[in-house]
Subunit: 497 residues, 2 copies
């Protein structure tokens, strides 16, 4: 299994989905009901022995070599090598592609969003509502975390995979309030306090400070903030753009937050979900500073600003260019749907049968495949930077550090002589005769590997737009085999007709 | 729940996902483990009563009115109206959006592919490998069938939902063969026949007829076709572009198919998976006709040609323009990922609380909502063509056929007077206090409704590019309420500060 071209016009793809594949393979078999259904839809003249074969089918004769989950990979380099009885491994094709394609795509998308945003901003995934159903959303939450996101709003992803969860407040929470009466509940912890009166007093002082007119204040918004502040005085982070940030949301937030501060609580911050996020964040930060200075609450210096609303890779890149005060970005649709390129074209091709190499050699040369079972090496220079991935036939001796070797870069002439300072064998056996033989990477391990793997690359290969093409080469032996098969000189004699 | 704009720059979206929503709601509750997990991630100072509330939570106080699954819908017209305790219906937001957004999107995409292809071509969905995981793929197979596809390669979708299944042959099946020895198995049914010798003889005659050189014939491809023909003599439909259509795939197909015909079987056809599908299909058809005439096998007149390979809406539209002989198109990636617009922006907004209308009124007027619970009517002219969707406040009298009414078209002035010849009430109660109160639409019913609903529309609204905007209007009363809330004249008094 390999992809031909890295997604999103970029230089690499992360590899993800391996754990899902292995767990699937370990349990793969058809029930009697499955076989009965197949019998009902396959041609009447199907050999009955085929259905007996299907009934006993499992992956006990299947083995897999794979690169580790989270590795940055390049076009044409094998991700998985699946071996076993042809009929079985052929049946697995679509399932394995399905589990690797989207996982790798969305993981790579997240890595690009992270590269675009830089390391400082926290990134929160909140795309469930736009995913391909609940399970598509769950995959998105899991694999965007591996790709570099910090948080998800998908609580089930937190529970199942340990992704840190974080939420935001719905506009409907704000618009469900209309007056203050609804907030007269006792404040939990300590002596009950009339937070409403306190906040009304603060609202007057904030309005004076900011020169905000009382006519703009939405009573319902103020009530909603108060109610939320009473419920979560240590986690107060409302969305402030349900009506108007300047005229209502921001003054109301400041009033309630100041009342909470006065009572010894630490409000957390605000969320902006519309308009020019950069500009507004700067204005909001300015108001926080003025409140902090004027009312002498240093807690207001460390309030956070969360941005959301159709955030794309481009908006994150813009964040690094434009003045802004955003601490956390929430990203949904463009992340989980990978709108810039909503599919990764991983393919699954036959390379050997009964010890004989095979290749697909169509009239479209881009669809040709490289024959034979392969070993995959990442060659590094003396700085530890990868400079070439080398595909050899399995059985060839491993390249040695410090020893020069001749190879054939894909898509370019002439052959190349290279001397690696270090050599990393990317492929490892992970599944032998139906058994998972190595511990599955934890989410955290895959996430760390993704960052390490990307960071090891020279920035010319991870540049988001028009990156240099990372070289992938094949060994002399593999090149010779490819040429022999292409010209037909290895092929058996022609038909006697 | 509604969308603001139809997807893909088109005029409508089909509504789908209702059955999933209702089944989800009927069973919605949190387990003790769920609640324990939430307790572990929510702030320490969360009121313990909240967790008791969550433990007892279900949808027994939730009700839903909905348009029927498969209906063609327009921007701002409610798809679902969910009523119940605010905390409960708010918790459902993301799950319901997730179930409706992708289902409706991919269903609409399929409907557009069908409109582009015209009614004659059979359309087969084969996108599982590029979907957002196995369940995303399953949703795609199910909802593209509702949208107008005929077949799916997803066997589980056949089993679970009754979508007709059809398969194709993998290139690896072809390239797994290298010589004829592997095909010496007995032919099932009747006296065993040496199909190999028979086909070798036919191959010689076909080559003479077509002037094809023997050097181009791939022995493995011929062997693969023979093996498949022996296993499925009545379902012979190989992929013929593994090496070269002209030099090997097509002559080999004709030879094996002619041998099968000679033995009284009916071969089915071929698949093309690369290159210019239209041009090749014409050439292949020509060869079929020559074989039919020359060898006198009329079965060759009715062979079918299947096309696949990155088929998009555009390629289907092209099919209708260009000369071609394709009978079935297989569509994968662009269909299931909805690459032209990979998300539908359905939203879920608060419109009423405790009998009081609510709306979101932000600084971005496009994000404003229409307040109040609504009834939805489709008004039709005397030809039975819908010409306007009318949103009224629920409780308003139903519009009457033949009676003029005044309404306010959204996004345009001035008010309009219209007289419907027929009125269809689009919304029906489907879920009351936790119970599904009407039979769920079967796949076939939803599929038929989708076609009826699209066909009823004037073509100016279903045109794929730059369709006319179908008019949606609000009643006088709803318009008045909207204006009152916008100016704040319905809102309670301002804060005394």
């Amino acid at each position: 299994m390999f992809f031909r071209q890295a997604p999103f016009g970029g230089g690499f793809s992360l590899f993800a989905g391996l754990s899902d594949c292995l767990l699937f393979l370990r349990n793969f078999r058809l029930t009697e009901d499955d076989v009965a259904y197949l019998q009902s839809v396959l041609p009447q003249d199907t050999d009955p022995a085929f259905f007996s074969f299907l009934t006993g089918l499992d992956c006990s004769a299947v083995s897999i070599a794979s690169v580790p989950e989270g590795t940055a990979m390049f076009g044409k380099v094998p991700l998985l090598e699946v071996s076993g009885p042809l009929a079985v491994v052929q049946l697995l094709e679509t399932s394995l592609l399905c589990m690797v394609n989207y996982a790798s795509l969305v993981c790579s998308n997240a890595a690009r969003f992270r590269l675009a945003a830089g390391p400082a901003v926290k990134l929160m995934e909140l795309g469930l509502r736009r995913a391909q159903g609940p399970d598509g959303g769950l995959s998105a939450s899991r694999y965007t975390h591996i790709g570099g996101f910090d948080l998800t709003s998908n609580v089930l992803a937190g529970r199942l995979f340990g992704v840190p969860v974080a939420g935001t407040m719905a506009h409907s929470y704000i618009t469900s309030f209309s007056s203050l009466e609804e907030t007269l509940m006792p404040c939990s912890g300590g002596d009950p306090v009339d937070l409403v009166s306190l906040a009304v007093g603060w609202l007057r002082r904030v309005r004076q400070l900011l020169g905000a007119e009382s006519g703009g204040i939405r009573q319902g918004e103020f009530a909603a903030f108060l109610s939320y502040g009473i419920a979560y005085p240590q986690n107060f982070l409302p969305v402030i753009d349900s009506y108007s940030v300047q005229c209502s949301g921001l003054p109301c937030f400041c009033a309630v937050a100041l009342a909470l501060c006065e009572l010894g609580y630490r409000p957390v911050g605000i969320r902006l979900d519309s308009g020019d996020l950069c500009r507004q964040s700067v204005e909001v930060r300015g108001v926080f500073r003025r409140c902090s200075d004027h009312f002498n609450f240093p807690e207001f210096q460390s309030l956070i600003i969360v941005g959301s609303n159709g955030v794309s890779e481009g908006s994150l890149a813009e964040l690094r260019q434009k003045e802004n005060e955003i601490n956390v970005m929430g990203v949904g649709t463009h992340l989980v749907t990978c709108s810039r390129q909503p599919s990764l074209g991983c393919v699954y091709k036959l390379v050997e049968i009964s010890g004989q190499p095979r290749m697909k050699l169509t009239e479209d040369p881009k669809k040709s495949t490289l024959p034979g079972r392969k070993a995959v090496y990442r060659l590094m220079d003396s700085d530890g930077r990868p400079f070439l991935d080398l595909l050899c036939l399995s059985g060839e001796p491993e390249p040695k550090k410090g020893v020069s070797l001749r190879c054939h870069p894909l898509g370019q002439e002439p052959p190349l002589c290279v001397t690696p300072a270090q050599v990393m064998n990317l492929q490892q056996k992970v599944f032998i005769n139906g058994q998972i033989i190595c511990p599955l990477s934890s989410l955290g391990e895959s996430r760390a590997r993704a960052q390490t793997s990307i960071n090891a690359l020279h920035p010319q290969y991870t540049r988001l737009e028009q990156p240099d093409k990372y070289p992938v080469a094949i060994s002399e032996k593999l090149h010779q085999l490819f040429c022999d098969l292409k010209t037909g000189s290895v092929s058996p004699v022609l038909l006697p007709c």
